[in-house]
Amino acid sequence: MGGAVRPGGVPKCSVTDLQVLILALLQGVSELFPVSSLGHTILVPALLHWTNVHRSNPTFLAFVVVLHLGTALALIVYYRARWSAIARALVASVIRGRLSSGRDERIGWLLVVGTIPVGILGVLLESPVRDLFGSPAPAALFLALNGLVMFAGEALRRRQLGDPQRADKPIEHMTFAQSVFVGFAQSFALLPGISRSGASMVAGLLCDLDHEDAAEFSFLLATPVIFAASLLETRYLVAPGAHIVLAQAIAGGCVAAVAAYLSVAFLMRYFKTNDLRPFGWYCLVVGVGCFILSKRGLLS
């Protein structure tokens, strides 16, 4: 599955068309489903023995940037009306110099405050954490842990529902401290195998949001983070050794964007009536399975 080589000896591309397609689908879906995209981009290539697909390959890193941009654009397009209203409300509130009781403005500031912890921790800790845990065995263990966290979140949520003192509230009724809590939970996704949307959804549920609102807040909170992270990593597109093929990059970005758009549309319908437990089972089974395979030397 290695890259083709031109007659002159210069690698044409070190990622094949099939790999681009699979990676794009994987990124678009797993970034938004609470199953950890980072964990899957480590485990799936290891399962398929793709020796050319790893984070020290500049071409692979360049593709990851394009795929993230596609995912972020899909989220922006899906929530375009909401983002437009939030942006206008935020600008108006800064010009006015005070907070109002408007729903969009309140959600906007909650998102700003919630993005601060993941922004700081992401910039400071992303590289050391990936260097430390960016291999199949830890990613598989964290994926299993991600499943347990979702089960624990659902159990705590059911306990909350039994408490007559507590009731579900809309996103705009969250406090800024709760938004920081959700943002902090999201930053656990720096660990390969821990899902960004899963961690922030569980935190949202613990802050008395229902599943639909927790998912929406999680996706809104993830959008600036994914977009900013991919913009900051655009340097990999022109890095020495990044033999990126434009057609492949565009195709990969488009596939990731379509997959992400369909995923968020599906999940917003799914969480109207369902919970996180099926994803918890998936993460637990796949995580434990991959860990056993890695210990038997079956993951490259």
């Binding site: 006015r96 110099g97 910039v123 400071l124 590289s127 050391p128 900013a228 900051l232």
Partner: protein, 66 residues
Amino acid sequence: MKLLALLLALVFFVLGVFYGLGKINFLTKSGTAHTHHISHLVLCWILALLCLIWYRFQSSADTVRR
């Protein structure tokens, strides 16, 4: 609080400049190597901007109180 907001904005701005110039390398991937830390610069300047917005809200609140 107004003073704190302004002071923090200044600190983050200067910190960003130093990271951008590669003068400080605290908590960076390159460790002791003096390179331009663009991510850290952007983060510091965003935090500085948020502190300025905080300052703006505080100033406006003072005006309303008067």
